[in-house]
Structures are given as C-alpha cells and as structure tokens.
C-alpha cells in the first residue's frame, strides 16, 4: 500500500490536549513539518512557554526546555550560547510573549539572537480561562473586559510584528493566519523561511500566527475561523514586515 500522508517525525504520538477547533494543533504541525524539512542534520532544541502550549515538550519530538512565563526568549538565548550550531526555537502565546515577556522578546530581537520564535496570537489568555491579553481587540469580550475592551479603559492592542520590524537585530518577521487551507500553506512557508534564516545565521526571526481560542471566545470552531479572517486580520494585517 502506498503511504500518501504521514504525521511529521518531529511530532510524538502523544495526543494533543488542545480544545476542539484550537489552532495550536495546526501551529504545532506546521512548525514540526518546517523543522523536518530542514533535513534533520542539525540538532533541534525547543523552548515551551507557560500557557496552553506548556505541554509542547510532550509533542515536539526533540530536546525541549520548559521556560518560566514569558522568559522563553531569554532561555533560548542561553541555550543558543551553549549550542550555537543547533536550531533553537521558542513557541509562545500572546500573554507570554507580548505581556509578561515583552522585555525578553524585544531584547532578544534587538540583540539579533539567532533563534526563531513561533508566536501564537489568539487575542486572549487561554490557559487561565479567557482573561484580556495585550492583543485582545477593541470591543472583544474577555473575563477581565466583560463589556468589551475599550481603548479608554484597557488601552490598545499591541502589534508585535510591526514593533519588532523596527529593530536592526530582527531578520525575518512575518504575520500569518490559519483560517483556511491557503493561509495554512502560506503559514508553513513563512515558518520554514524563519528557520532557514536561522540556519543561515541571519539573526532573530519570528512568525506571528493568528490563532483561535473557541473555548474562551465562546464561539464554534467555524465561527472562530471566521473571526480570525474577518476581525483579527483587520487589526493584525498579514504580511512580511522584515526580511533582510
């Protein structure tokens, strides 16, 4: 029998714990496939965040360190100093990367750390039960912005790619989405490119993936995809923001 499809060797057989319709799963898959396409000659060390993806160390089939909340870029920087020839990547949510870990993110980019960050922007704190994230849209409801986020009360959402693209140390910065097949294919290409940049020693690369959280958005998986496509991309336009 001819095998036409199989799961990436960079994913373990452990079933994902993610909720139905959550795009953490697709993000894992494209990350694993992109890593696999690098050819597996170089060793890989991942860094798992605090957030729904904390168990990433059970899923990615490579060496992994679990980092404190927001500190993945610092942990990855430490790893890269010891293992400069290995692929080092961090996988982080928006609370992790854009709130508590903002300093680590910005400074890893400014230093031009030769690491790759897969940044999952689902506009909410998933793991802790749906609180407002720095990326929550104006008008979006969360358990700590129950009437919907307002600029006057909670401030404005942060656009990470646009911000990091201003830094000289950043080599490849792109925002992608997973709301349909075409965007998934494009997302994987971007992730692969980010890793290629690391292999080439070009410095800091980051791919922001617009993601769903049906559970805390209180939407069906299908409506969540629509929300990403129609609402999130308005605030977070897709594209490449830096490419050196």
């Amino acid at each position: 029998m001819q095998k036409v499809f199989q799961k990436s060797a960079l994913l373990t057989d452990t079933p994902f714990h993610y909720c139905p319709g959550c795009t953490h799963g697709i993000s894992h898959r494209i990350t694993a496939e992109a890593l696999e396409e690098l050819g597996g000659k170089q060793g890989i060390i991942g860094v798992a965040p605090v957030g729904c993806a904390v168990f990433a160390y059970n899923y990615f089939n490579c060496d992994i360190q679990q980092a404190a909340h927001g500190r993945a870029p610092a942990v990855a920087s430490g790893i890269k100093r010891v293992c400069p020839d290995k692929i080092v990547f961090a996988y982080q949510g928006d609370g992790d990367l854009a709130s508590i870990g903002m300093a680590e993110t910005v400074h890893a980019a400014a230093r031009g750390e030769n690491i790759t960050i897969i940044f999952i922007n689902n506009a909410i704190y998933g793991m802790t039960g749906g609180q407002m994230a720095p990326t929550t849209l104006i008008g979006q409801k969360s358990t700590t912005s129950q009437g919907g986020r307002t600029a006057a009360l909670q401030g404005n959402p942060i656009r990470i790619c646009e911000m990091l693209a201003t830094l000289d140390g950043a080599s490849y910065i792109a925002r992608v989405s997973l709301h349909d097949l075409k965007s998934v294919v494009a997302a994987k290409k971007a992730v692969k490119k980010a890793f290629d940049y690391q292999v080439a020693g070009k410095g800091f690369s980051l791919v922001e993936i617009l993601s769903t959280c049906p559970t805390n958005w209180g939407m069906t998986p299908e409506n969540s995809m629509e929300y990403v496509k129609n609402e999130m991309t308005k605030v977070y336009p897709l594209g490449v923001f830096k490419e050196v």
């Binding site: 060797a9 597996g40 170089q42 060793g43 890989i44 060390i45 860094v47 904390v54 160390y57 089939n61 490579c62 060496d63 992994i64 360190q65 679990q66 980092a67 404190a68 500190r71 610092a74 942990v75 990855a76 920087s77 430490g78 790893i79 890269k80 100093r81 010891v82 293992c83 290995k86 692929i87 080092v88 300093a103 680590e104 910005v106 400074h107 230093r111």
Partner: protein, 353 residues
C-alpha cells in the same frame, strides 16, 4: 604558579569561576557587584565562553536556566534587589534540577535600601526565597581567598547535586582587596558529560526534557520527596570553623565578614579575661546545627551571642540548633553600618548574663 596576588573580591570571584570551568555568564549592573559582570564580559570570550548583559535580572537568571539546561557551566551575580527579581527563576532552576552558581554581594535593604554592605539576605538565601519547597547550597565566605576557593569548587558541587549553589557575600567582600592564590584552570574536557542536558544531540525516544511542571499531585509530591532526600544527602557538605571555642564560656557566632570582626572581638575579650570563642558557619545551608548543639551541651558554655549585619536572621537558626539549652543573644547593625571589634566587645560585655 601559586603566586599570591592582590585582587578585589568581585574580580577574584569572577576569575575563580572561570578557572572552575564557568563559560557562560549572564548579568545586569547593580552596585556593589558590577566588577563581576565587567570582568566576565572581557574574560569569557578569551576562553571561548560567552557573556550577555541581559535586559534585567529576570532575563539573566532565565538565560542561566537555558545555558545550564543545555549543559554549560553557567553563572549569574547580582546584589539584593536583583536577587529578589531572580527568585522565580531560581525556583525553576531548583525545580528543573539544573546546576548553576549565583553570587549575591548583598547590599542593605529593604527596598532600594543602600549600596553599603549588609547580611539582610540571609533569609531569602537559606529559606527558599522563591516559591515552593526548594533549597540551595549556600556558602558565606569570610575572606577573598575563601570566596575564591568556594567559587572554584561551586560548579562541581552544583553538578554533583544538580542544584543552584549560592555564594552569599556582601559589599565588603566584593569591594575590598586581599592577597589571594588563584587555583589552576580546570580542563573543560575533564568535566563529565551531562546525559540529561538538552544539547540537541539526541532525538526521538532519547530526546531530553528540562521541566519543573508536574500536574499530578502524587508525581509532584514524589519530586518534592526526592528533593527532600537530596537535601538530606547535601548535609555532607556542611562546613564550619571554630575559633578558641573549646574552653569558651561565651560563644560568639557570625558568618561572612562579620565573623572576621567577631574573631577580633574574641581576641580582645580573651585579653581581658573573658573566655570567648567563635563558631563561624561556612555553609549557611546546610546549617551546621550539630556543632551548635554540641557546644550547647557543654557544661562550660554559658551563652551564645549572634552577630549579624541585619536585624536578626541567622540567630533564628542558632536558636533552633541550641534548642533552649543555653541563652542565645543577638547584636546586629543594619543600613550599611558595620560594628567595630571594640563596639562588639562592649555589646558582648553588656549582654553577658
């Protein structure tokens, strides 16, 4: 080869770390420890290592986590407010069983406090500091030579137990100069390979995970019990110096730089006919409780007097060790003030029962 040279405490500690195999240093400026990162920024590239001036102490300790997890001999240093910021990271390092060395050249607090010396971080060093049930191997060196010797061996100890090792100095130790003999450079190739390190050389079922998350209560309790057993084994590292204590009636006790003052006070007291002696813990955790208990049980010993550059922290451990057998008194200075030997003698004479 074993030439005596005059060195500033901070620089001597940094060089001792390099000679002890340290190749990765992550720091952030804070007085009075700045000479350590400054020295490392120049020295580590010379020996094939790496230095990062991190964006904060929080970041620095997490870089240590990453580097130590990847198998490198990694270190950070700071002073009190910076160490407070590192506490979450230290707890993660302890929980993930990673070896590293942390130097704290203590300044006076609380808050921004002052840059003058203090021993006010005793509690946060020996009682946990960060969250959860963990301990570190904590040393309180009293001279630059002792700080050098301890730092040199610190990585070996950290790796033996897979724990963070803390060297608790203070502004005096960091800033003063003393003659030291530096140890030989460790041959990096002789350091045993760490089979558990995430260095990207293994994959599939052989891959390694550095983690401190245990979601099931029984599993986490199992880890905590494992740590408790480890800390029990670590008691083998307990180190302590006694000075004229054998026939002493009044036992002064102090650690670090304060013990140097206490020693001078013992000499003055002896000259004036008071049978004084000194117990100086070299490891603050594990605490040399047995030594205190032994002396407390001696008929000749009438009283203990603890001296510290704080408002009374180690004295609690002394009281636990003495366990009511003899009175334990305390004299301390804070805010960056340091007691003189004469002042110490006067205070001791006042407190003698």
């Amino acid at each position: 080869m074993s030439e005596r040279i005059l060195m500033k405490g901070n620089e001597a500690v940094a060089e001792a770390a390099v000679r002890g195999g340290c190749r990765y240093f992550f720091g952030y400026p804070i007085t009075p420890q700045n000479e350590i990162p400054e020295y490392m920024s120049k020295r580590l590239p010379e020996v094939g290592g790496a230095f990062i001036q991190a964006e904060s102490e929080v970041s620095a300790i997490n870089m240590v986590y990453g580097a130590a997890g990847a198998g490198g001999r990694a270190m950070t240093s700071s002073s009190s407010p910076g160490i407070s910021l590192k506490q979450e990271g230290i707890s993660y390092i302890a929980g993930a069983e990673l070896p590293c060395v942390i130097v704290n050249m203590v300044r006076s607090g609380p808050g921004l406090g002052g840059i003058l010396p203090s021993q006010g971080d005793y509690f946060q060093s020996v009682k946990g500091g960060g969250h959860g049930d963990y301990r570190m191997l904590v040393y309180g060196p009293a001279s630059i030579q002792e700080a050098v010797d301890i730092t040199y061996k610190a990585f070996e100890k950290a790796e033996k137990y897979r724990i963070p090792v803390m060297i608790l100095g203070d502004g005096v130790l960091g800033q003063m100069m003393e003659p030291v003999v530096l140890p030989e450079m460790t041959d990096i190739a002789s350091i045993p390979v760490k089979e558990w390190a995430t260095d990207g050389t293994k994959s599939g079922k052989d891959r390694r995970i550095i983690n401190s998350l245990y979601i099931e209560a029984d599993v986490l309790e199992g880890m905590n019990n494992k740590f408790a057993a480890l800390y029990e084994r670590m008691k083998a590292e307990t180190a302590c110096e006694t000075y004229l204590a054998d026939d002493a009636e009044i036992i002064l006790t102090a650690f670090g730089i304060t013990a140097r003052i206490a020693k001078s006070a013992v000499d003055i007291l002896r000259e004036s006919g008071v049978k004084a002696g000194l117990i100086r813990p070299i490891t603050l955790y594990p605490f040399p409780s047995d030594i205190y208990a032994q002396y407390a049980a001696k008929k000749t010993v009438k009283q203990f007097i603890t001296l510290e550059l704080n408002l009374g922290q180690m004295v609690e451990d002394v009281r636990l060790a003495v366990n009511g057998a003899k009175p334990v008194d305390f004299y301390g200075r804070s805010g960056g003030n340091i007691m003189s030997p004469e002042e110490t003698v006067q205070q001791v004479l006042k407190k003698i029962k």
